[in-house]
Amino acid sequence: MTRADSNTSTDYVDLAIIGSGPAGMAAAIDAAELGLRVAVIDEQPLPGGQIYRQVSQPALQDRSVLGPDYYYGESLVKQFSTAAIERIGNASVWEASANHLCLTRDGRSHQLHFKTLLLATGAQERPVPFPGWTTPGVMTCGAAQIMLKSSGLAPAEPVVIAGSGPLLLLVACQLLRAGIRIEALLETTPAANYRDALKALAGAVSGWRYLLKGARLMAELKRGGVNRRSGITNLRALADNQGKLDRISYHHRGREHQLACRTLLVHQGVVPNVQLSRALGIDHHWDELQQCWRPGIDRWGASSTANIFMAGDGGGIGGALVAELQGRIAALAIAAQRKQLSDSERDARAAPLQRELERQLAIRPFLDRLYRPAPAFLRPADETLVCRCEEVTAGEIRRIAREGCAGPNQAKAFSRAGMGPCQGRLCGLTVSQLMAEAREVPVSEVGYYRIRSPIKPITLGELAAMAAPTNPVKAARKSAQKG
């Protein structure tokens, strides 16, 4: 049932789902089964989301490289691909309201109308500003993993991996298994985090599977002879005369070290992708523990707007299994709202899912405390570029804030930070944090950029093609009279 005709100008479904990661796929499968007409839109060509990217056509021959957590997605993708769902791949949603969305596909835009919208747009990696992070050759751990999954490509050696978070260890192991030599694994996790995390160990015990997984990864790195160093500070990427990465420097135990490398993979955890939820005007609050914004949703995934739901990492970081459960729970709530299911039946079906969800989430407080990024990455030193697109430094943002700039939107107007093509995705968190620091107020008080459509790039021509053909002249005539 994949839509063949991409020329449809308007269309209508009961439930539109944006994102076909575990959350979106699971929700779609269950909602379709409950009798809803469902369309799922994703900008990737194949379903799977970030975690199960291209799992239906994996590039790598050796299945041990990515491991069972990746191939677990095969069955979900298969179910999704055979269910009665309208799957719209290669399509980016650039605007959404409470009753319609606009998507672009093959250079053409269409509107899709719906009764209910589920955002399952997942996470992005947390921006990791440090001196030199714009140097060609510096990439994210997620980027390396994406290339493994979709192309079977491994980064140019020598490789250094630096940062903090579960994905850091995982990517290191995956590259190791692929036969890539890792010069060093530099962990920036502050020592105080370990003590802090211990306080949340009680919860972590019920999430023992995750702990075990972490321990296994560390053992694997040790066996592989990876030079692993913790307590790293002052990370810096240095370029050769062509501007490409050739060295990094860092401090370890009070001394500066340098390492030659071609690729530096960085990571500081993932944060919800809030572009669409913000553009839709959903309330967001600052999560101090995860150091990111979270949209306000209830335990069914319902937002403050009655017919807009969220599931998966986009609503708060929980991981792939949590995303799948949340997708299924949201599907039940949506079906009940659309009277396909009684409330009592919804509750009965949701109960075991909610119990399992709780079990899966038990580890989060521990992980969030342990992998809270070092302050230097949240509020970098003055010289560091924060806005990569418009090339605005942390120092500039601090200066503006000290001059009495009220918040990120005014900072944007004054410095152009957040005005480039990435629309603040890579500087928004940092700018809010820097302003909060400079003004000595909580981040929640400082707020975030206003996000507006188009949240994905479209051309003027593409937008123009959505206009009624006679409109421009008429409108222009009217305006000529007014002056």
């Binding site: 900008e43 060509p45 970030q50 291209q54 056509q57 994996p58 590039a59 790598l60 021959q61 050796d62 490289v65 980016s92 992005q124 990696e125 714009t134 060609p136 050759g137 510096v138 990439m139 994210t140 997620g142 980027a143 994406i146 290339m147 493994l148 979709s150 192309s151 079977g152 490509l153 491994a154 980064p155 140019a156 050696e157 692929a178 036969g179 890539i180 370029a239 062509q242 501007g243 490409k244 071609r262 690729t263 990569r388 697109c389 418009e390 090339e391 480039g420 093509p421 990435c422 995705r425 890579l426 994905k456 790039p457």
Partner: protein, 106 residues
Amino acid sequence: MASDSAFKRLPANPAAVVNIWVEGQPITARAGESVAAAVLAAGLGPTRTTPVSAAPRAPYCMMGVCFECLMEIDGQPNSQGCMTQVSEGMQVRFQQGAREPLENAS
């Protein structure tokens, strides 16, 4: 454009070969992969310079977030290389500074 920075192709499941042109140079790519991946596999880059200070840049996130992978793909400037799949005969150019507005204009 030294290719000591080329990403390494690991043993992969069979897929069709796609020929594309990057800065006038023929390279082979794997069907289904992104332009950014193909360019990195060929060891080419930096893939653009910024409109603000002409600083060199290359793909960073590979998932459509950072817009560092902007290239001119089949005459269309500022295309996201990591979100565009390769296709046979595709012409890819690196961008220096701000894009030209005039490409493809009618």
